[in-house]
């Protein structure tokens, strides 16, 4: 229980997907213009993460590893299998959202199918693959489906926190006088850099 909580908090603040690893930057920069769409995308990313990570965990430990059902080390296939799982689940989420909430479907638009190529989701699966082999005493160790879900939820919420924060700053920034060559992309990068520096103060956090 303690480990679950520590994994969760660490993945929000210390191992934040955006500020520590720069994962999911493309949609992070593209969709952070208004707070409302940022929240919608954040929820969608968190949901896809929470569903895909346990599935990929089971694939990695039961099928691909040397003591899985085939008895041989198939981990070189992991890239293809992980991305197939992610693409399939994104498609599923898209269909469910379209069926039950057409208004949310319309507001997310093209970004819903693009979650499949969001690096944060693929990245979480690849980090999980590295964390399985860590020692049990390591705070980053993932040793079961519950750990995987906790890590996925934390990473998703961390990502959402980052995108909502940036969207709020950019909404205010629309009123400020930025030098012309920096306007738009340039100043956004600097703002993200400053936010990342602020998040560095969490890196000594011990739970």
């Amino acid at each position: 229980m303690e480990h679950l909580l520590s994994l969760f908090v660490r993945s929000i603040f210390v191992d934040n997907m955006i500020f520590a690893f720069f994962l999911g930057m493309c949609s992070y920069l593209a969709v952070s213009k208004t707070v409302k769409t940022a929240v919608g995308l954040g929820i969608a990313v968190t949901f896809v993460l929470v569903v895909t990570l346990p599935v990929n965990y089971l694939l990695q430990t039961r099928v691909l590893s040397a003591d899985g059902i085939f008895g041989i080390d198939l981990s070189f296939l992991s890239f293809i299998l992980f991305i197939a799982v992610i693409a399939a689940i994104t498609q599923l989420v898209e269909m469910v959202v379209e069926r039950f909430s057409p208004s949310l479907y319309a507001s997310l638009g093209i970004f819903l199918p693009l979650i499949a190529v969001n690096c944060a989701i693929m990245g979480a699966s690849l980090f999980m693959q590295q964390r399985i082999v860590k020692g049990e005493s390591d705070p980053q160790f993932i040793g079961g489906v519950a750990d995987a879900i906790s890590y996925a939820l934390g990473s998703g919420i961390g990502w959402m926190l980052a995108i909502v924060g940036l969207a709020a700053i950019r909404e205010k920034m629309a009123y400020s006088n930025v030098p012309a060559p920096l306007r738009g992309l340039g100043i956004t990068f600097i703002v993200v850099g400053l936010m990342a520096m602020a998040f560095m103060c969490f890196s000594g956090l011990k739970i």
Binding site: F19, F21, C26, V117, M122, I190, M200
Partner: protein
């Protein structure tokens, strides 16, 4: 032969290196561009890997573009890219193990690199194999160029070395110079990319946002 290197094809190859750079203008592939640039060597390896993969995935998708059903094209593209990335990752593990450890998950993340999907969707799905190959190489090299520039400054100012060789002499350190530790931390990568964008946009007014 002259047709292979016509003016249009040269343009397809050259614009991503400058005015239509994938990182600073199209804003694609930022994730790995920032994460692997603390040292020059992994940045060069990463740039080359991405160049090779964009080139060949563009050719493959361009060859089969008429047979891919529209609804499942993203999955087909992902599978082609994932297969190429697996090959590159295994080659790196075999011949450049140290670099592949440094790059860790970011080699696998080439699959979800937006440059690849962007070029496949925007170019390879509607152009012939040879043009697509040039476009892939051009975009890959445009990406590699930014990576090398960022890594050059981060390694020089952050560790005082280039490719592992000491550049800043010991006497300078004795005189009280200290490496800028912030340079090797993630946030400075963002600020350096912002400076490159600043420089590029102040030279080319047409790129500026209104």
């Amino acid at each position: 032969m002259s047709q292979l290197f016509s003016k249009k094809n040269k343009e397809v190859f050259a614009t991503p290196l400058g005015l239509n750079n994938p990182v600073t203008v199209q804003v694609l592939g930022i994730c790995s561009a920032l994460a692997v640039t603390a040292k020059l060597e992994p940045a060069i390896v990463m740039g080359l890997s991405v160049t090779i993969i964009t080139g060949f995935s563009n050719v493959i998708i361009s060859l089969i573009r008429r047979t891919i059903p529209n609804r499942i094209r993203i999955i087909v593209q992902l599978v082609v890219v994932a297969a190429l990335v697996t090959i590159v990752s295994e080659i790196l593990k075999a011949f450049a193990y140290d670099v592949s450890v440094q790059l860790s998950v970011y080699i696998g993340l080439i699959i979800t690199n937006c440059i690849l999907m962007g070029r496949l969707e925007a170019f390879a799905m509607s152009n012939g194999p040879w043009e697509s190959f040039l476009d892939g190489l051009g975009n890959g090299l445009g990406y590699a160029k930014i990576l090398v520039i960022v890594a050059f400054f981060r390694e020089l100012l952050g560790s005082g070395t280039l490719l592992g060789f000491r550049i800043i002499p010991q006497s300078v350190y004795d005189a009280g110079y200290i490496n800028n530790g912030l340079m090797v931390m993630p946030p400075m990568a963002l600020v350096i990319v912002a400076c490159i964008i600043w420089w590029q946009r102040s030279r080319h007014k047409e790129l500026q946002d209104k």
